[in-house]
């Protein structure tokens, strides 16, 4: 018996979408009528032939998935990642037999339970108790199974008091808890979970992730999990599958797949220069360019470079009390730096003409990774010249921790591990 539970070969799914032609061409009423009559005729033909009616005048075939080949082993927890429209949901729908592929085939061994939505089939008029049975049956449990697990489900959802209340009176949190509780007690060999944890509070999310991990490690179940939450994926999954516009971009260990995903997503520019016409700002102050680069600092070692943030501005008049601000975000979206010139300088006067403003970051503050930078300029509480969110991205690479025995990406803090100084007192 092989250990491969899901095997996809040359899998593809094609959708036909319609485009509405510009109606501006039809000016005369007669033309409009003729056009509509033609449409009606073609739709009737479609109806008789059994073709699907497609809104619009012209159609286009779109491949939501193309030439997918992959294998998933028993007990794997696979995180499926990709941007919106990458084909993640389509793939899950095919695996859970909701829709048919256009090409290729999938071989699945074992019972599949898919949770593509929280509380599928919940009826608002029915009570919590009734919905447990309804939802459980819809997800593929038998009545006997639900009865056995009933107490566990109720305990997991923490809704003992409201079992006889119609779910339409539930808060959205209670609703999600109940729905996930039912799904978590399914006992399939393969569990498919779509972005369902986006709702619910963090504590409950943790509980759900923990439950899924339990199910997988203790009982050897296979889990397929789609999420945009990289932290959740990283914590839960062992393997990753990255999709982009219907193709597989990466498949393997979760770490490397997530890295690929984050790296692909960000175009590392490090510098942006605007043309004369398009400079952001207003008639008083304009931003001509932003750049981030490293500069050797003689006060430090050879490899310890300062990070220089440079803004080139153009001012049409002498400006007083101008404050320049910077924010840097890491690839988890956490703001690691927020600074402004007013934090250090009291007299902030800008001359007329081209000005260069620099912010110099002490070496070795930021750890390896990709960062996004936002910049802004204002006269505090009075006037905003510009504020540009995520205007450029820059990369910091600290390949010089020669003493470290851990791989680069295991340093989980926000600051670089080189910040500060280690001292061994009373040692050799």
């Amino acid at each position: 018996m092989s250990d491969i539970v899901i095997k996809a070969e040359n899998l593809g799914k094609e959708y036909t979408i319609g485009h509405q032609a510009q109606n501006g061409r039809y000016v005369a009423l007669r033309d409009v009528m003729v056009h509509n009559a033609k449409l009606l005729w073609s739709k009737t033909k479609d109806l008789v032939k059994g073709n699907p009616i497609i809104l619009g005048d012209s159609t286009e075939e779109v491949w939501a998935l193309k030439e997918l080949n992959f294998e998933i082993k028993r007990g794997d927890r696979v995180g499926i990642i990709g941007r919106n429209g990458a084909g993640k949901s389509t793939l899950l729908k095919i695996l859970s037999r909701i829709t048919e592929p256009t090409t290729g085939r999938v071989t699945i061994k074992g019972r599949v339970a898919s949770l593509l939505e929280v509380g599928t089939g919940f009826h608002p008029e029915l009570t919590g108790r009734e919905n447990i049975y309804l939802n459980g049956t819809i997800l593929g449990m038998t009545r006997v199974e639900i009865k056995q697990k009933y107490d566990e489900i109720v305990a997991f959802a923490e809704i003992e008091k409201y079992l006889d209340t119609p779910v339409k009176r539930y808060s959205s949190g209670m609703y999600v808890r109940l729905a996930f509780a039912v799904a978590a007690h399914l006992e399939p060999e393969i569990m498919i979970v779509d972005e369902v944890l986006a709702v619910g509070d963090t504590q409950f999310q943790k509980k759900c992730l923990g439950k899924m991990e339990d199910v997988s490690t203790k009982e050897g179940k296979t889990v397929l999990f789609v999420s945009h939450n990289m932290t959740a994926i990283r914590n839960l999954c062992t393997k990753g599958l990255m999709l982009d516009r219907g193709f597989i971009m990466a498949h393997g260990e979760i770490k490397s797949v997530i890295h690929k995903y984050i790296d692909e997503g960000i175009e590392i520019t490090g510098r942006k220069i605007w043309g004369d016409e398009e400079c952001p700002g207003n008639d008083k102050l304009r931003l001509k360019s932003v750049a981030v680069f490293e500069e050797r600092d003689p006060a430090f070692g050879i490899k310890d470079n300062k990070l220089v943030f440079e803004l080139k501005l153009f001012s049409t008049a002498l400006l007083k009390d101008v404050d320049i601000g910077l924010n840097a975000y890491n690839s988890d979206g956490i703001e690691v730096l927020h600074t402004a010139s007013c934090a250090q300088i009291k007299e902030r006067i800008l001359n007329k003409g081209t000005i260069i403003i620099r912010y110099i970051l002490t070496p070795n503050m930021l750890k390896t990774g990709i960062y996004a930078l936002s910049v802004g300029a204002n006269v505090p509480n009075q006037h905003l010249f510009f504020y540009l969110k995520d205007v450029i991205t820059f990369q910091v690479s600290q390949q010089y921790i020669e003493t470290s025995v851990y791989p680069e990406d295991t340093w989980s803090g926000i600051l670089a591990p080189q910040v500060g100084k280690w001292e061994f007192i009373n040692c050799k």
Partner: protein, 276 residues
């Protein structure tokens, strides 16, 4: 994990065990039917009485208009009201199950796009609701028979056969229409019209013996004619004999529509999730 089943998903693969699957999902059928039933009269004041009031009032109106005003003859010596109600029952069963079944897929769009199960379960489960309504209004028939002191003959034992006929007569077109409804919402507007139209075309307010003999076979193209005649034969006994050529035609048509409905439904089933 012992019963390792291997599932292959491929385009155009006709599932060998489709009917076995339906059996496996029988609990889903039961629970969907139960859901529809328990939700049906929630937040209404008189609740289940609606199942009685509608056919009862229609029966009163028909008795007055066709029996008193138009002075149409009843079947034998059966009271006119009883004759109308004996037809009202199968007609309501047919029309409400056809209506429910036709809208069932659209009403359960969220299930279809999120979970796999044999889709045939949804329209068939809705028919149960109509059947329960039928059973409730059947009580009214018994009360009326007691009131008129009208004893049924042994024919009544065959009534389940005709109930089944009425259900199958609605299921065939119902399946077809609900599948079409997924693609073309036009059919949503057709059903109420067909049902209203059918109420007057079918022999509900009058006896089918009123129809001239030479038109009788043509009249039986409407499969409900056979069902209604059968109901009257069961309930009113020898007072309303069955017109056999027409009855057989009705059965043939019901089977034909059932076959058509199931095959069309099966053909379109796979694309439901994509277009609903």
């Amino acid at each position: 994990m012992l019963n390792e089943t291997e599932l292959i998903i491929e385009p155009g693969r006709t599932e060998k065990n489709y009917w076995a699957d339906i059996w496996r999902y029988r609990e889903l059928f039961i629970i969907l039917a139960w859901r529809d039933l328990s939700v049906r009269y929630k937040q209404t004041i008189i609740g289940i009485l609606w199942a009685i009031i509608r056919p009862l009032l229609t029966m009163v109106v028909f008795t007055v208009i066709f029996g008193r005003v138009a002075k149409l003859p009843s079947d034998g010596n059966a009271p006119y009201a009883l004759m109308v109600f004996a037809a009202m029952l199968p007609w309501t069963l047919f029309s409400s199950s056809l209506g429910e079944a036709s809208n069932s897929l659209i009403g359960n769009a969220n299930l279809i796009s999120k979970v796999y199960f044999p889709r045939l379960i949804i329209p068939t489960a809705t028919i149960v609701t109509a059947f329960v309504d039928f059973l409730i209004s059947f009580v009214i028939l018994i009360i009326m028979m007691l009131f008129y002191q009208f004893a049924p003959s042994w024919n009544i034992l065959l009534l389940p056969v005709f109930i089944l006929m009425a259900l199958l007569a609605s299921l065939g077109p119902g399946l077809w229409i609900t599948a079409l409804n997924v693609k073309y919402r036009d059919f949503r507007y057709i059903i109420p019209f067909v049902v209203q139209f059918g109420l007057y075309v079918s022999p509900v307010g009058f006896s089918s013996n009123v129809v001239p003999e030479k038109w009788r076979l043509l009249y039986s193209i409407n499969p409900m004619v056979g069902v209604i005649d059968g109901f009257r034969w069961c309930i009113l006994g020898g007072n309303s004999p069955i017109y056999w050529p027409g009855f057989i035609l009705s059965i043939v048509l019901i089977i034909f529509f059932l076959w058509l409905g199931i095959t069309r439904f099966r053909k379109m089933e796979k694309t439901f999730a994509d277009i609903i």
